[in-house]
């Protein structure tokens, strides 16, 4: 049940014209893609537009995606090219530093975004972060540990099950319940 398999199934269905599958891929990767594009495109609104364009290009090119590489690698490449094309269209050069597709996934975007911050943007982002951290603080210890190991340490369910010495089904349940509990606080903020 690796990522490749997971995406493969979504990609396969999206290629067959199943919009929900493509929407799921967009949901799964849109924050990462926006973060990536923001490294090139300083204006937050423009970054959103470029990221959208990248996904639209991806949709149009999906029929040609043969799965030789992981979907996200392919998608990130499209996003980087879209960002570079945007800069060219704006008469600007793309950044002198090269962004490797594999590295791009692990970028600490927050540290690179400080110069592009806008007060309005910061307000919502800060609000979301505060809400999430407060909700995590209130979680029962087992849920807090499970979600932390998953989201901050990037552990797989198997690894978490080993660390927490519990069945994988319990890990699934704990992570879901943690997300659900946090979401109860987050949803009113975004509605």
């Amino acid at each position: 049940m690796g990522e490749k398999n997971n995406d493969k199934e979504l990609v396969k269905r999206a290629q067959k014209g199943e919009k929900a599958a493509f929407d799921t891929l967009v949901t799964k990767y849109h924050l990462k893609v926006v973060n990536l594009v923001t490294r090139f495109v300083k204006n937050a609104d423009d970054a959103q537009d470029v990221a959208q364009e990248a996904f639209i290009k991806a949709y149009r090119g999906l029929k040609n995606f043969r799965g030789d590489s992981a979907f996200y690698t392919w998608l990130y490449r499209i996003a980087i090219n879209s960002a570079k094309n945007y800069l060219v269209s704006q008469g600007r050069k793309s950044p002198a530093y090269a962004v490797d597709v594999e590295d791009a996934e692990h970028m600490e975007s927050a540290t690179n975004l400080k110069e592009y911050d806008t007060p309005e943007g910061n307000m919502l982002t800060d609000e979301i972060e505060k809400t999430v951290y407060k909700a995590i603080k209130d979680l029962p210890e087992d849920l807090k540990t499970a979600i932390t190991l998953r989201e901050l340490e990037g552990m797989s369910y198997d690894e978490i099950a080993n660390v927490m010495e519990c069945p994988i089904g319990t890990v699934r349940s704990r992570i879901f319940r943690a997300r659900e509990a946090i979401d109860k606080h987050l949803k009113p903020l975004l509605d």
Binding site: Q15, N35, R60, L62
Partner: protein, 195 residues
């Protein structure tokens, strides 16, 4: 909304979902927009924990893309496309068949040429043609069986004729069989026996 469905949403983010479960959850997402938003918030939680939130968060990002693509059908590889593939495959098969046919033709041609070089057709050699003409032009005299018997029984005449045949075999017409057979074997005493 059932928790079991929402748990699948949670697991789809973590790449912990089977093909069957993916099929099930996509079916649910298709019929319930709220599930898509929930998935988005679940993803947001992780980014917020890692302090990786974009400075501008657009909740309608997925919806905007979906709206732009609503009238744009995925170009699914059409039957025509498949035909192209099949035609290509067919063409490849055709190419292979043609290749084999050419190779076979060359082999047959080489074989025939080889035979012609080393075993020339006696019918087409100049001597044979001349012999044919001679046979046709010659007024053949038929001999009686008694005369023939006398001729064969005369060892000297038989040896002479045999020698002639042996020395002039290349001029023999292919339509005429050699009228003398020489059988060589070994008798009981191991000596050569001639008939």
């Amino acid at each position: 909304m059932k928790d079991s469905i929402k748990e699948l949403l949670s697991r789809i983010l973590d790449e912990d979902i089977s093909e069957f479960e993916a099929q099930r959850i996509l079916k649910e997402i298709n019929s319930n927009d709220e599930l898509g938003l929930t998935l988005q918030r679940y993803d947001l939680i992780g980014h917020a924990m890692r302090k990786e939130l974009p400075k501008q968060f657009n909740q309608n990002f997925v919806h905007n893309i979906s709206s732009k693509l609503i009238n744009e059908e995925m170009e699914i590889p059409s039957p025509g496309h498949r035909e192209v593939i099949e035609t290509t495959n067919g063409f490849n098969r055709f190419k292979t068949a043609v290749g084999f046919a050419i190779a076979a033709s060359v082999a047959v041609f080489s074989f025939v040429a080889f035979q012609n070089i080393f075993q020339p057709d006696v019918n087409t050699t100049p001597n044979a043609i001349v012999a044919d003409q001679i046979v046709e032009q010659t007024d053949i005299q038929r001999v009686s069986s008694e005369d023939l018997q006398n001729f064969i029984s005369n060892p000297k005449a038989a040896a002479s004729f045999n020698s002639y045949i042996m020395n002039h075999a290349e001029y023999a017409s292919p339509r005429v069989s050699v009228p003398h057979v020489r059988i060589v074997g070994y008798g009981k005493d191991g000596l050569e026996e001639r008939n």
